[in-house]
């Protein structure tokens, strides 16, 4: 097996003899080390949860949001390089505005996801463009039913009931399988998922999660709610778990 120093990893337009494009795999390590984003479909809607990454030592939380509303029925939770995320979101919002101007309906569902993934894929084809350093989980309400899609840097998108990207996403996905099988409501899902996030990472150095929720009680994506994971877990659990 050819190793990293063998020169097949210098350009995204080069395949290795095993059929791997090394640059894309290198790019995906950015997402593996970035903030965790979880998306899940609930009984009465869907919920997107993200870690607030604190980049400063004194743990002051500035307006560094990771979940962005595109229109009233769509939100994207992204993990990875901040600049790439902002470009992608700006592009998607522009697409949505022009679509609404022409066709008088918001861009939702598979149409929206196909547009974004076409852009991300284009960045993996040409030698002079670098791939996007971000992945996204998209929660949309299309045709009155909630849907969750995940887009990877290669441009692939998958529709699913719930998923996680970012650091610790593998373990989160395992515990998510059990949670999703029970099909809770939105509120219950928030509590259960945040408890499992805390359990997996006892030394969690973030104190709050950012939560975007679309449920029957509040059927609109407007602003994320902030959720103090420590105090909420303390409230939920019967005895203190640190």
């Amino acid at each position: 097996m050819t190793s990293i120093k063998s020169g097949y990893d210098l350009s995204i337009a080069t395949y290795s003899p095993e059929g791997r494009v090394f640059q894309i795999e290198y790019a995906s390590t950015i997402v593996k080390n970035s903030q965790l984003v979880v998306g899940a479909i609930c009984k009465d809607g869907l919920v997107l949860i993200s870690e607030k990454n604190c980049g400063f030592q004194n743990k002051n939380f500035l307006n560094t949001e990771n979940i962005f509303p595109i229109n009233k029925t769509t939100a994207i939770g992204a993990s990875g390089k901040c600049g790439d995320i902002h470009y992608l979101i700006g592009r998607t919002r522009y697409d949505d505005t022009t679509h609404r101007e022409f066709f008088s309906e918001s861009l939702t569902g598979p149409l929206l996801v196909a547009r974004i993934s076409a852009l991300m894929h284009m960045h993996t084809v040409y030698w002079h463009l670098r791939p996007f350093g971000c992945s996204g989980i998209i929660g949309t309400i299309s045709d009155f039913s909630p849907e969750i899609y995940v887009i990877f840097q290669t441009g692939l998108f998958i529709k699913c009931y719930g998923t996680a990207i970012g650091n610790q996403s593998e373990m989160t996905k395992i515990s998510l399988e059990n949670i999703l099988a029970k099909f809770h409501t939105c509120r219950k899902n928030i509590e259960v998922i945040s408890k499992s996030i805390k359990k997996m990472n006892p030394k969690l150095n973030v104190q709050t999660l950012e939560i975007f929720c679309f449920s029957k009680e509040k059927p609109i994506f407007s602003k994320p709610i902030s959720y103090n994971i420590l105090t909420e877990n303390r409230r939920i659990s019967n005895f203190f778990q640190f």
Binding site: E101, F102, F103, S104, E105, P110, L111
Partner: protein, 220 residues
């Protein structure tokens, strides 16, 4: 405003040469139009079809300049087909009306087209939108348009009821268009009717001797 309205210039009425209407009922729409295309005083086509399809279950009634409306409808049909390929299902009526508005409003200096867009789709049921001369989209339970419409506002205002059945709507359209054709010089010929429901599209033509003659009480 461009006053070159066609081969002949002795027409003053801006909404010229036709009577078109569309009525929505529970489960679909009924559209009706006369069939006269005139250039000035000469009747160029006495059996023209002014109700054109832009999708499987979406039709547009055209009034105004024949060339302008045909060009606009061709553009709309193209955009709607591409849009329905992208979304993977049949296009919706408000989408078609909005596209019509985009084209009519952006080119309002060069076009003279007053259209009625109506159809049936799964999410909204039967819907009627009017896109008049300068643009704008206006949803209504029923719309009348064209030069002949001025003569029948009284009739439609007094005879339209919410919740009519399909047969009642068809009779309403037949009566209204025949009254307009009776009085308006630029409307005439046959009545063409299109009924769009969930089950499909029915086209009907009511020729001269079968027209409802509502003035028979006083006029032979």
């Amino acid at each position: 405003m461009n006053t070159n309205w066609g081969p002949s210039t002795d027409v003053q009425d801006p909404a010229l040469g036709t009577t078109i209407m569309a009525v929505a009922f529970d489960g679909g729409v009924v559209m009706g139009a006369d069939s006269r295309t005139s250039t000035g005083t000469y009747v160029w086509n006495r059996v023209s079809d002014k109700i054109t399809s832009v999708g499987d279950k979406i039709f547009v009634c055209r009034s105004g300049s024949a060339a302008d409306t045909q060009a606009v409808v061709d553009v709309i049909r193209l955009y709607l087909q591409m849009h329905s390929l992208e979304i993977g299902k049949q296009p919706e009526v408000p989408t078609a009306a909005n596209l019509l508005n985009q084209v009519c409003y952006s080119n309002k200096d060069n076009l003279m087209a007053g259209m009625i867009c109506a159809g049936w789709d799964e999410r909204n049921g039967g819907k009627v939108f009017s896109v008049p001369l300068g643009g704008g989209v206006f949803p209504h339970p029923f719309v009348i348009g064209g030069s002949g419409s001025g003569y029948i506002y009284g009739y439609v205002d007094s005879n339209f009821r919410e919740g009519m059945s399909k047969a009642e709507c068809q009779q309403f359209v037949k009566n209204a268009v025949s009254l307009a054709m009776w009085r308006d010089g630029s409307s005439g010929g046959v009545i063409r009717m299109v009924t769009i429901t969930k089950d499909g599209v029915e086209k009907e033509m009511v020729s001269g001797q079968n027209l409802p003659h509502l003035a028979k009480g006083w006029c032979p």
